[in-house]
């Protein structure tokens, strides 16, 4: 009798101990499709797009697997991806069987993978963040996503801290820039080359413009709002940069070929040496990409007299 009773006490005690834990662990997250409840905080996370990957790494949580590790290391670069993350193939068609074998608690996707949602849900709960749209502000949307992910991971303080640090850092760089250009900041155009004759110009609704605004820089080649905040242009249209500074984002494989072009050498910004390149930085990432973009811009601009 007494032994049975003592067992019951043990059970009760255990239940009392566990109860608050389970209650506390319950977490709700709102993605672009609605609110999702998680009974337990997910630990094994798979991120199928690079913006989500970036956010997770920023929050100090290494995903179990991402899509296209090599691509991330070439195009996104910052924040650095920790070692030992599994690769589940390309972003458009990740290998779902491999993904399943990793037994994730949650899979996080972007627009590129929306068509796969039903399939992925067979493996684990799916969160979908529709960050880039023409009918909303992309910089605000990516910040919202970042905060939601922080909530999911119980890192909300860290997230706020990172965002505040970002704003402080951008403010600091803005002041430095003002010191560097006492007669007023120059106008800047940021582009990516697709080949020697075509470029993508970053315009309204891009993270690039958000970074530029935070630094107090005006666009030398203003572009309308688009889904990804970019517009395709031919090389010669760059002449409209006028007195501004042209900055192109690395990597660009044909730099040497471009340098030899007689027309390229004649662009006012090339002749007057108002051109520079930014280190690889992701233009379709999360809110801290705005910081990296700002840092890349400021570092390049502060490097010398223009």
């Amino acid at each position: 009798m007494s032994s049975a009773w003592s067992w019951i006490k043990v059970y009760l005690l255990a239940a009392c101990l566990l109860l608050p834990v389970t209650v506390q662990a319950q977490v709700s997250v709102t993605d672009s499709l609605g609110t999702h409840e998680f009974a337990e905080r997910p630990e094994r996370i798979v991120a199928l797009n690079w913006a989500v990957t970036e956010n997770l790494v920023e929050l100090g949580v290494a995903p179990v697997a991402i899509a296209d590790v090599e691509g991330y290391r070439t195009w996104v670069v910052q924040p650095q991806l920790p070692q030992g993350i599994a690769d589940v193939g390309l972003r458009d068609e990740p290998n779902i069987e491999r993904l399943a074998s990793l037994q994730p608690d949650v899979i996080i996707i972007g627009t590129q993978q929306l068509g796969l949602k039903d399939k992925l849900e067979q493996v684990a709960p799916v969160l979908y963040f529709d960050n880039y749209r023409a009918d909303h502000s992309n910089p605000e949307a990516v910040e919202g996503t970042f905060r939601e992910l922080a909530r999911l991971l119980d890192r909300e303080d860290l997230a706020e801290q990172k965002l505040a640090e970002r704003d402080r850092r951008l403010q600091e760089l803005a002041t430095q820039l003002q010191g560097h250009f006492p007669e007023g900041l120059p106008e800047v155009a940021v582009i990516r080359f697709t080949d020697v004759n075509h470029v993508r110009v970053y315009g309204r609704n891009s993270l690039v413009l958000a970074a530029m605004q935070a630094l107090g820089l005006e666009a030398a080649l203003p572009q309308p709002v688009t889904t990804w905040g970019q517009t395709q242009k031919t090389l010669t249209e760059l002449v409209a940069v006028d007195d501004g500074i042209l900055l192109y984002i690395q990597p660009f494989a044909q730099e040497d070929r471009l340098a030899q072009h007689p027309l390229w050498q004649r662009f006012p910004f090339v002749q007057q040496d108002r051109i520079g390149s930014l280190p690889p930085v992701w233009t379709y990432g999360g809110p801290l990409s705005i910081q990296y973009l700002g840092e890349a811009l400021a570092t390049t601009l502060l490097e010398r007299d223009w």
């Binding site: 690769d87 004759n197 517009t231 031919t234 010669t236 007689p262």
Partner: protein, 653 residues
């Protein structure tokens, strides 16, 4: 004749000057001064001299080269339907160049033309081997070219898919891009085209003699083979040079010589010379339009896409105006086997079973290869793909058998006739202009696309009694329009297009269990309907007169059976994307195995088609694990290679 020359000599410089005005802020007088003095000061001067001017020159050169190449080929083969594009030479050159750019980027700039030339040579030789000597002057060469184009296109897509971010940039170029920023391309192209006048002179007499017919030409002492080879290589060189310079520009080579003849050129030399002039003018005006629309629209319009959008309708118009193609001809089954022994059927069933088993059970994993019954979750991922591949293979095989017999041509198939392209085009256009993702638009949209193509085919084909030639050319035109629309979208550079690209290769990747079951059910219905229509099909296969004598309403039967083909294609395309070659290959395999009667060919073809697609799907999953290749792409490569091997062996022995 005088009016002709006056017209082109007036139009060409006028258009050239007009083209020059599009991108410059300089007045014409300033431009003239610049040309005379060469004293460049402002950026506008440089822009004019290093961008506008070379672009206008390269348009002239490429147009002239393609026009000449087309005219040479058409006169050589005495076939108004051949051109660098329809012979597969352009896509061969493009693939050669793409391979070189990706594998050996350092050498691509210097030796790219040789890569392109090798590609063009290999692909057009293949087309020639498939079509055979007699086929060169008729429709078979066009169908063979289409098949090779599909195969090479699949390979190019595979390369681009696997090279993700980097290769995206190659698209603008692939779409035919004339933008210049110095004179280097012009110089390089001009050097390569130095042989152009020489070709004109050398080819004159042989081509004039060729008009008398091969025998007559030989009788006049013309040693055909070396001359033939020389002119052929020259045409390929022109093609490769222009692909190297500006990427893929279709239609100019096909349309120009036909227009030239329409204008009344009759003699060989005149035709060549006029093709040079008219080709140059055509590309110039198209490129001017491309520049104009690029300026008006928020996005770039690649010149190659513009050429296709203008060229495709022009081709159809031309065909309707000029071509006389009989509906005669009879359907001959390939292969020598006359009987289908039971053991062969059992063997095929065995192969299918093996494919099913490995598709379900054999896969690589982190720990190496695993051969085991999959867990429930993995099984639920694998079976929809398996069922979809099975159903799609079967349906396409049936569609292929129907189509080949209906138009009595063993080289016909839904993809070559443009039915897949129609379905794809409907879906792609919906996604681009109405937004949303591919999944939002189901088989209904694809079916509408297929029906529209069918309707066009029937409308245009009626006058020619549904001659295979018309149908094939429609297919080519539609495929080109599809390419143009896709390339226009790709040049826009958003991420959504890559999803399209994966789907465009025919993938079971996105198939859900429900879709797969729908497809299977659809396949059964199609099989049943085919069974109902089998008698009419047998009669039509034998010949219209015979069928009429047996009291068959030929038109009704033909239209119903064609609708069935459209339905089959739409069902598969909507769920899997365009899957090439299975519809062509499966009926052939069946008849090679000895299944010569209709019901045998349908059954064996369906089994073979299913086996091919299941195996391709499995191979695509395991070949580059964890990356995957679409089943349709593997099927294209496997099927295309086997098909080509088969046909070449038959020719050679």
């Amino acid at each position: 004749m005088k009016r002709r020359y006056l017209g082109v000599l007036l139009l060409l410089p006028l258009t050239w000057v007009l083209h020059l005005q599009l991108e410059t802020s300089l007045a014409v007088t300033e431009q003239w001064q610049l040309l005379m003095t060469r004293e460049l000061s402002s950026f506008a001067d440089f822009q004019f001299f290093y961008s506008s001017l070379p672009r206008a020159v390269i348009a002239l050169l490429v147009g002239a080269a393609l026009g000449l190449a087309g005219s040479l080929l058409q006169q050589l083969l005495q076939n108004p339907l051949v051109s660098p594009m329809t012979l597969g030479a352009s896509s061969g050159a493009w693939l050669g160049l793409l391979v070189m750019t990706l594998v050996w980027p350092a050498a691509a700039a210097a030796y790219g033309t040789w890569g392109a030339f090798a590609g063009a040579l290999a692909s057009s030789l293949l087309v020639g081997l498939i079509a055979g000597r007699e086929g060169l002057s008729g429709l078979p060469v066009v169908l063979a070219g289409m098949a090779v184009n599909l195969l090479l296109g699949a390979l190019a897509t595979a390369l681009i898919l696997l090279n993700d971010q980097y290769a995206r940039n190659l698209f603008i170029w692939g779409a035919g891009n004339l933008a210049q920023s110095d004179w280097s391309q012009v110089q390089a192209l001009a050097t390569r085209l130095l042989i152009l006048p020489l070709i004109l002179l050398l080819a004159l007499r042989p081509l004039a003699l060729m008009r008398l017919g091969q025998t007559a030409a030989q009788a006049r002492g013309l040693n055909l083979l070396p001359v033939f080879a020389l002119i052929f290589l020259a045409a390929l060189w022109l093609t490769a040079s222009s692909v190297m310079a500006v990427g893929l520009i279709g239609f100019i080579g096909l349309l120009t010589p036909n227009l030239v003849r329409l204008l009344g050129c009759r003699r060989a030399g005149e035709e060549l010379l006029f093709s040079v002039l008219l080709g140059a003018w055509l590309l110039l005006i198209t490129d001017a339009l491309a520049i104009f629309f690029s300026q008006q629209l928020p996005n770039l319009v690649p010149s190659g896409a513009a050429t296709a959008l203008i060229g495709a309708p022009a081709l159809i118009w031309l065909v309707r105006k000029r071509m006389q193609m009989s509906s005669g001809g009879h359907y001959t089954l390939p292969g020598r086997e006359l009987q289908l022994p039971l053991y062969r059927l059992l063997l095929l069933l065995g192969v299918l079973l093996v494919c099913v088993v490995i598709s379900l059970m054999l896969a690589p994993s982190e720990q190496g290869w695993v051969f085991a019954w999959p867990q429930d979750l993995v099984l639920s991922l694998r079976w929809p793909r398996l069922v979809a591949a099975l159903a799609a293979g079967g349906i396409l095989a049936v569609a292929g058998v129907l189509l080949q017999r209906l138009i009595r041509n063993p080289l016909a198939s839904p993809d070559i006739m443009g039915l897949s392209a129609g379905a794809t085009l409907a879906l792609v256009v919906s996604v681009i202009f109405l937004g949303g993702s591919l999944r939002d638009y189901g088989p209904q949209v694809a079916f509408i696309g297929c029906l529209l193509v069918m309707f066009l085919l029937l409308l245009l084909g009626r006058r020619h009694q549904y001659a295979p030639g018309i149908l094939a050319l429609m297919g080519i035109a539609l495929a080109a329009v599809l390419d143009a629309v896709i390339q226009f979208t790709l040049a826009r550079g958003g991420d959504e297009v890559r999803q399209l690209l994966g789907w465009l290769s025919g993938s079971t990747y996105r198939i859900q269990g429900q879709d797969a079951l729908w497809m299977l059910a659809g396949g059964l219905v199609i099989g049943l309907l085919t069974w109902v229509g089998r008698r009419s099909l047998v009669l039509i296969t034998i010949g219209d007169a015979f069928a009429l004598a047996r009291g068959l309403n030929i038109n009704l039967a033909r239209v119903s059976l064609l609708l069935l083909v459209a339905l089959s294609t739409a069902l598969v395309t909507a769920l899997m994307g365009p899957v090439a070659f299975v519809g062509l290959l499966a009926p052939h395999l069946a008849s090679l195995l000895g299944a010569r009667q209709l019901h045998q060919q349908l059954l064996v073809g369906a089994l073979a088609g299913a086996a091919i697609l299941i195996f391709s799907d499995w191979l695509g999953r395991v070949l580059l694990y964890p990356q995957q290749l679409p089943a349709g792409l593997i099927a294209s490569v496997l099927g295309g290679s086997y098909f080509i091997w088969l046909l070449t062996r038959r020719r050679l022995t």
